[in-house]
């Protein structure tokens, strides 16, 4: 795979993995009504 491919894939993976970890971390351990 070309370097552009690696950059495209790894940046997309990093972004969505970070986003899902951030959201779930804050929802589970963020404090503050439903529960």
């Amino acid at each position: 795979m070309s370097w552009q491919g690696w950059i495209f894939m790894l940046s997309a993976w990093t972004f969505f993995t970070a986003l899902i970890v951030y959201c779930y971390y804050r929802i589970l351990f963020g404090g503050n009504q439903t529960a």
Binding site: M1, S2, Q4, G5, W6, F8, M9, A12, W13, F16, T17, L19, I20, Y22, C23, Y24, R26, I27, L28, G30, N32, Q33, T34, A35
Partner: protein, 555 residues
């Protein structure tokens, strides 16, 4: 553990239950089958560029808007879009435009629940070893897609044909008794969950199925990534990954090289995939969000839905079916195989690949179980708007609303089970045409009629995350323009161009390799009947019962 508010509507039990249920609503067969199929049919890396643009400029703002709209309707006692549109736009037509939020999930339920039952049937058959096995020696280096289809994949295509009853040339389908029994299992399991309610049924399913779904997908992804070069040193799993991720700015259409951002078909496919995958423009997100309390957060939890679905699509879904096919068949053949349809990739190519691997039956079982969890959590999301409409606007108890759904669903699914092309007719209206139209109506009502500042303020009530201002301008100006352009493209491709060629009633069906006959018109007639029935129910709820006219906050 049903919790009722002052208005008698249910609420979600826990925040993590809500987040997993919403993720289950969005994550479905679209992530694991439709995405690789669409990507392969539209040039791989060329597809991902418009896909990410659509995700950023349309899907993310729309997800927040749908969450906010759902909570706004829910605290006023309404869980479906006819009443929500009317609350936000006091024009007589608003409630009838909201019919799309009932019509689309109803049609999707009719065919998607049947397809979802195939995944359960296949997982049982695979575990019991009742699925064809092909000899690894039949697969050679450098075979064309046609040679592979005629040798290695033929027994699996035959098996799928027998399972769904489509092997002969009749206009009717004759599925196996096993197929029907498995659908009955899915049907009754779903109805049982729906009777248990939002917190006791949907949330219970999500808490079990969603963690398992992520674990199964990661296990299968690791197995695919460790395939290496199973057939030839010339091609392996990384070629499939490269096909998907190497940015391509030009795509071949009708023998010509076209700049990808100027290719209407790629944009249509990308936007359609984003909608279908995220369950946007269907009324399903609003319905789930209507069971929130007045000060529950919608911004962080709304973002978590988008994040979960995108992770399941571009990290997990992109790394299983297409790379596995590329490793065994080569990229060119895998592309042809995937372009034959998402189900060919999932139900024909994948079982063949697993038969080449150690513990293949177990891996195949895990693959179909993953698809079953993905499908089931979406099936219940398509049921809930119908139940909510009957409960909120007709005052039915939940048991009676589920009984009404059961009858309606049983009638609607017959057209998908027995008529060749029934699934395609349902999918054409609810899977490709409906959602972008619904989304455009939503965004205009919310950002331009109800008021952009008002909805933004509403969205931030109880918010745990401040939405960047970029998305405000995006939702107000960019999203509606993109949506209108996409609808224009769609209208051109599916109405104007076929009309000029005299193929208005035949082109979409013939594009799916089927013939238009009286059997297709029966399904179309039923679709029109469903639409008129739902319009009539809205008229009755507004004019006779007047239940839809309630607009005060009930808690």
């Amino acid at each position: 553990m049903v919790q009722n508010g002052n208005g008698g509507r249910e609420h979600w039990g826990t925040r993590i239950g809500l987040v997993l249920a919403m993720a289950g609503n969005a994550i479905g067969l679209g992530n694991f089958l439709r995405f690789p199929g669409q990507a392969a049919a539209n040039g791989g890396g060329a597809f991902l560029i418009p896909y990410f643009i659509c995700l950023l400029l349309m899907a993310i703002p729309l997800m927040w808007l749908e969450w906010a709209q759902g909570r706004y309707g829910g605290v006023r006692g309404h869980g479906t879009t006819p009443a929500m549109f009317q609350l936000m736009w006091r024009h007589p037509i608003a409630k009838y435009l909201g019919v799309l939020g009932l019509f689309i999930p109803t049609l999707i339920l009719f065919y998607y629940s049947y397809l979802g039952s195939w995944t359960l049937g296949y997982s049982i058959k695979t575990l019991l070893g009742q699925i064809p096995q092909v000899d690894r020696s039949q697969l050679h280096e450098g075979m064309t897609a046609e040679e592979i289809s005629n040798t290695v994949l033929a027994p699996y295509a035959q098996f799928l044909g027998q399972y769904s009853g489509s092997n002969d040339n009749s206009v009717f389908l004759t599925p196996d008794a096993f197929t029907l029994v498995i659908f009955a299992v899915v049907y009754f399991l779903t109805l049982w969950l729906m009777v248990r309610g939002v917190s006791g049924g949907i949330e219970l399913l999500a808490k079990i199925a969603m963690p398992l779904l992520f674990i199964l997908a990661i296990v299968l992804m690791i197995r695919v990534f460790t395939l290496g070069h199973p057939v030839s040193e010339e091609y392996g799993v990384m070629n499939g990954i490269a096909f998907l991720w190497e940015p391509k700015w030009y795509i071949e259409r009708d023998g010509k090289e076209v700049f990808v951002l100027r290719d209407a078909k790629t944009w249509l496919a990308a936007a359609g995939q984003v909608f279908f995958s995220l369950s946007l423009g269907m009324g399903a997100i609003q319905c789930y969000a209507s069971y929130l309390r007045k000060n529950d957060d919608v911004t962080l939890t709304g973002l978590s839905t988008t994040a979960s679905n995108s992770f399941a699509e571009v990290v997990l879904g992109a790394s299983i079916a297409l790379p596995a096919a590329s490793a065994f068949f080569g990229v060119a053949a895998a592309q042809m195989i995937a372009a034959q349809g998402s189900f060919y990739l999932g139900f024909v190519s994948m079982p063949a690949i697993f038969s080449f691997l150690p513990a293949g039956n177990l891996l195949g079982f895990l693959w179909f179980l993953l698809l079953f969890f993905a499908a089931m959590t979406s099936v219940v999301a398509m049921c809930q708007p119908i139940i909510a409409f009957l409960e909120d606007e007709f005052g039915l108890t939940r048991q009676r609303a589920v009984a009404a759904l059961a009858i309606f669903w049983l009638i609607g699914v017959q057209f998908a089970i027995w008529i060749k092309g029934g699934i395609d007719v349902y999918d054409f209206w609810s899977g490709t045409f409906g959602p972008p139209l619904m989304a455009l109506i939503e965004v205009v009502i919310l950002m331009w009629i109800f008021g952009s500042d008002k909805i933004w303020k509403e969205m931030h009530e109880g918010a745990m995350l401040r939405v960047p201002r970029f998305f405000y301008y995006c939702a107000k100006y960019v999203t509606p323009i993109i949506l209108a352009t996409i609808l224009g493209f769609w209208y051109w491709e599916n109405v104007i161009a076929p009309f000029r060629a005299g193929e208005l009633f035949t082109r979409p069906i013939e594009a799916a390799g089927l013939q238009v006959g009286w059997h297709i018109w029966i399904v179309r007639g039923f679709v029109i009947f469903v639409f008129i029935l739902q319009i009539a129910l809205i008229w009755y709820a507004w004019n006779v019962r007047k239940s839809m006219q309630r607009a005060e906050v009930i808690e």
